[in-house]
Assembly symmetry: C2
Amino acid sequence: MPRALSVLEKIVSSILSVMGLEEIAARASGQFRTTQSMVANGLRDAILSGVLAGGQPLRQEEIAESFGVSRSPVREALRQLEGEGMVAFIPHRGAVVSEISHYEVEEITEIRIALETMAMHKAIPLLEDDDLERAEEVLHRIDREEDLITYWSELNWRFHATLFAPAERPRLLALIKSQHDAFERYIRMHLALSDYEKPQSEHYELLDLCRKKDTDAILKLLTQHIENTSELLVTYIKDGKETGANGLAKNTS
Amino acid sequence: MPRALSVLEKIVSSILSVMGLEEIAARASGQFRTTQSMVANGLRDAILSGVLAGGQPLRQEEIAESFGVSRSPVREALRQLEGEGMVAFIPHRGAVVSEISHYEVEEITEIRIALETMAMHKAIPLLEDDDLERAEEVLHRIDREEDLITYWSELNWRFHATLFAPAERPRLLALIKSQHDAFERYIRMHLALSDYEKPQSEHYELLDLCRKKDTDAILKLLTQHIENTSELLVTYIKDGKETGANGLAKNTS
DNA sequence: GTATTGTATATTGGATGCAAAGTCAAGAAG
DNA sequence: CTTCTTGACTTTGCATCCAATATACAATAC
């Protein structure tokens, strides 16, 4: 029992310490105007960061205590995440962090390729020097970043989102992000540092092709980029299944 | 006040009367094992059927009374629908049925074309006579159906889903359905009986091409089919905005 | 020894109560 | 006449309480 508490407390405090000002700003500027939204964001973060592993049961009382609130906002937060597909409810048994199989990884890969190539295709003719500069800036930040395990997800997304942005398709972007997220939490858990090198070099390649506005080559490389990630993930998931869900396994007693 | 109540009561009773045995079976077999899921399904139905129009505020107390429950399960149901994107919460002001603009219709159209042509493409080589027969059966039901305003949505979806099914992509299918749903509730509200004729004849055409396994022609027709729906919808939404369903005037910039 | 039934305990699901935020209209100030 | 303030009222958001359900384990029957 105290174990689970400490895990969540770590998340909460990590949000508060790592994000620091961002957190406080968000709170002030109306991002966290309700307890529910704070809990929802905290849990989402915890799931995406891999602290709460797939299949892990989410005890309402524990979560409530961790956040220092009652169960009502916790239940609402869980329901919202259910709607987002991040947790699954089993009636009278509670919520668990939803898992994806390697079949689903392959399915998501197809979806991502379809959606991302579309977004990219729409964005290419509208890409300005300004956008490309900002994208490159993100890549430099990745190069400089010491703690990639924590920040890869966010920076990687920011790079791709920057390239998609000129397309001005908010709904499409949201869809892509949700598919992205389904991947990233496994990425963060499993990948070693060396695994970041190849995608990062592909990022530079992609940026270069974007400068040349070579549509065909861009879409081809983007497709390849997604497929590479997918392959890595499938390997890790299959391995994990074989060896028996390591890491934060903390099931019965 | 009594107006909104009667509207919702109509929905609830229509679920109970129309579904009859199905409803009871569902309840017994675990579909509605909690009040929350009943309310969520009821509200989703009400929104998709257009009974609860876009922008309409959703008073928790009213809904709770309509369903004969307290506000707790109602709030949870609303949160779940928020996660699904069907309602939007404004802190301390409550939930409203989310709306889509004609910009969003155009965006969803692109997304639908990308996802549905992909699903169809994967399904074509796997289509069996059996599938085609079931699809045709649905079309006959549409021909026979008196109350298309109520049942078009469901039957139309069933037809397309039948053709997508052999692809065996549950996540993709779910994504397509959610984009579909974003359209259908406007369709149901706005379209006249005559508007169903063209899509239905396209359905027969599509089925015919599926029999011939003419991939290129199928994908082309499917794209056209989606675009036609989209155009109708854009017209109706623009008309609605112009003619004075002003209500909550929003982003026109 | 295995299967089944009954009971204790933990956990979820739902109802109720109360404080806080928001809304609206009437009246005062400019 | 318009704008701002004030206070009653509405509605939301959260905490607490109680009931319903599931799980684990022990006791009993076969």
